[in-house]
Amino acid sequence: MNFYLVLIINAIFINNFILSQFLGICPFLGVSRKTETALGMGFAVIFVMGIASAITYAVNLLLIEFNVQYLQTIVFILVIAALVQLVEMVIKKFSPSLYSALGVYLPLITTNCAVLGVAIMNVSIFENTSLLISFLNGVASGAGFTLAILILAGIREKLERSTIPEPFKGFPITLICAGIMSMAFAAFSGMTF
């Protein structure tokens, strides 16, 4: 039990996907203008990362069985692309309201490096990995992503009402805010259990 708790805290705070591993920066900068859209993107990412982690773990067992691990990257990205497509169709059919809330963000997730990143990490970094560990790590990493993007969206909403020097407008000031957030999160890195 303790192991799972450490895994979750580690993925959300200590090795936060955005602020300490630099995975998924594109959507982090791109869709963090408003808290609502940021939250939508966050939930879509948690959802896809959780399922993708579980499926790629199973697919990797197949790859090992046939001894073709070098195909890992190509197989994983295809699985993720197909999965995103499938998830989109299922949500559209069963929950139109959720579909319209997630809307544009779902297809974008295919090229979110956080999803492929977590899939590769699951099979390469953890030694005694299992389906449950992979799934939990995926969901917790997605939660870390959501946390970071939500905080940044909150900051950016405030920034809109303040005066910023012309060359700093847009991405530069956002990056500097993210840097300060990253400094705050660096405080977690000394934590041991």
């Binding site: 594109c26 295809l78 060359p167 500097i176 993210a178």
Partner: protein, 216 residues
């Protein structure tokens, strides 16, 4: 001829993928802890970019419109696996330094964006030039980021086995620039400098145009 030069210049300054288009930000921030890492990541990406641009441009009349994105991803992933295997075999140290981010070239938005917006609708020669130009722009940006971060964070520039210590800075090296937070700061400030320079150049151009018009 003119168009070729335009394409070649486009990716380096005017539409620099890192500082102007803000694409492929993950590797830009993650692997630039040293100039050497930035340079090698840039070159690896450039290789994939040029190869995939050429192949997609060759196949552009064959690939059906509906499945073009999965087809692009397949082409890109093939070249990424090639880079991955070559690096693992011949440059194992570099491979372990760049780690996960070599595989993640697959989802680098620059490559997919160039495939979709350029290689898809241009001849092979132009597509190759575009790949080279964007690749150089990306490599320069990454090397610059890595250089600044290594200089301020470690006070020394390491190129292979050669290590150059910078006198004053190495006594007061600020480790934060090597840490993730420093990556965000350096990227932000470099972007500001880039914006200021480009805006000034544009103003000067406009000013010149106005003067010419006034003379006429």
């Amino acid at each position: 001829m003119n168009k070729k030069i335009d394409v070649l210049k486009n990716g380096i300054i005017k539409n620099n993928p890192t500082f102007r288009l803000v694409l492929g930000t993950c590797p830009t921030l993650a692997v630039t802890t040293s100039a050497m890492n930035g340079l090698s990541m840039g070159l690896a990406t450039m290789f994939v970019l040029v190869c995939s641009n050429v192949l997609i441009s060759l196949l552009r009349s064959i690939i059906p419109d509906k499945v073009r994105i999965p087809a692009y991803i397949l082409v890109i992933a093939t070249f990424v696996i090639m880079v991955e295997m070559i690096m693992k075999a011949f440059l194992p140290d570099l491979y372990s330094a760049l780690g996960l981010f070599i595989s993640l070239i697959v989802v680098n938005c620059i490559i997919l964006a160039r495939a979709e917006s350029f290689a898809n609708s241009n001849t092979v020669g132009l597509a190759a030039l575009d790949g080279i130009s964007m690749g150089i722009g990306f490599t320069l940006a990454l090397t610059l980021m890595g250089f600044v971060r290594e200089l301020l964070g470690a006070g020394a520039i390491t190129l292979g086995s050669l290590s150059l210590k910078i006198p004053v800075i190495s006594d007061a090296a600020m480790t934060i620039f090597i840490l993730p937070a420093g990556g965000f700061f350096v990227f932000g400030f470099l972007m500001v400098i880039f914006n200021v320079l480009v805006n000034k150049a544009e103003q000067r151009k406009n000013h010149k145009l106005k003067e010419e018009r006034a003379e006429q």
